[in-house]
Symmetry: C2
Subunit: 184 residues, 2 copies
């Protein structure tokens, strides 16, 4: 489901709220049903629906390369890969720590300063957005790699297919309310 | 309005959705009214309701002091004051730029690397959360100082009373959906 599909669905919900408001006789529990439908719709948005493209770097590249990538891509964290598999994540905080520690950023590999597997918080594309957003808050992180669990010859690893950040959630929040304002 | 007051209000809305679902005869536009009420409630949350305490630093303190404050308070940006008035904002990005530029972080004042008034995006306590969240997205910033405009002897300035970040919005998003899940 794309963002525009979400918008369309939210719109249809409201429309149906109007269309169903037909003359009616007797008991009517319509309020509750409609209310739940809208909020359930929000709760049913999945990580796949809203996640953005991952910005990745190889664990052997330098911290300096990482900083350049962060500025070029304008992201607050990089997903670090090892042989194409999720190996870790590096945040601006990690970069600041590294430069304060007088590391030779040109020569030290980014893999040395990353938060490493298995100490990572991740999201699956099928997670609902509520769970993923709650994970961001509960663990105090700005970004989650969106992954798919794979197995090859008994070896379990994670393939990175996207990322979900507080920016993603804030954007979604704005879009949902935008929809509301447009209909008001 | 506090977070718990918001929760209570959202809860009352749902309750009233149930309570109003009484036997009724004839035309019923109840769906639309209820639906709009919930979303309007979201749209009516103000910056004052959800903003957090500002983390500030004086423009004469060093970049190094700023880095320490960021880590101690675990924030991604600092609000910079000059004579108690809003002077600028410093983000982790600014800090990384400064350390890459081989600045003497111990001696250079933070005022030198901040984004300076009047190039700042701000929020007022009475702004609704939609407008503030949209400002975060539209201007690509992580944080807005929450300010009150003051005037003293013809001199206009801003007093800092809080801050609003993507974390604030993400938390609110989670709380609203938590409410939904609890009622489901």
């Amino acid at each position: 489901m794309t963002r525009s599909a979400i918008r369309a669905e939210l719109s249809v919900l409201t429309m149906s709220g109007i269309l169903e408001a037909k003359p009616r006789v007797g008991y009517s529990y319509c309020h509750t049903v409609q209310l739940d439908q809208f909020r359930q719709k929000l709760a049913n948005i999945t990580v796949r629906d809203v996640s953005s493209l991952p910005v990745v770097i190889n664990e052997n590249e330098s911290v300096y390369d990482g900083i350049v990538a962060m500025f070029l891509e304008n992201v607050g964290s990089l997903i670090v890969l090892s042989n194409g598999r999720l190996a870790g994540i590096v945040s601006r905080k990690d970069i600041i720590k590294a430069s304060m520690g007088h590391l030779d950023v040109q020569n030290v590999p980014i893999g040395l300063i990353m938060t490493r597997m298995p100490n990572l918080h991740m999201a699956y594309p099928t997670d609902n957005i509520y769970n993923a957003a709650k994970r961001l808050i509960d663990h105090g992180v700005d970004s989650l790699p969106v992954v798919e669990k794979k197995e090859k010859a008994g070896d379990v690893f994670y393939e990175v297919i996207g990322r979900l950040t507080k920016t993603t959630v804030t954007k979604l929040f704005v879009e949902v309310l935008e929809q509301t304002n447009a209909e008001a």
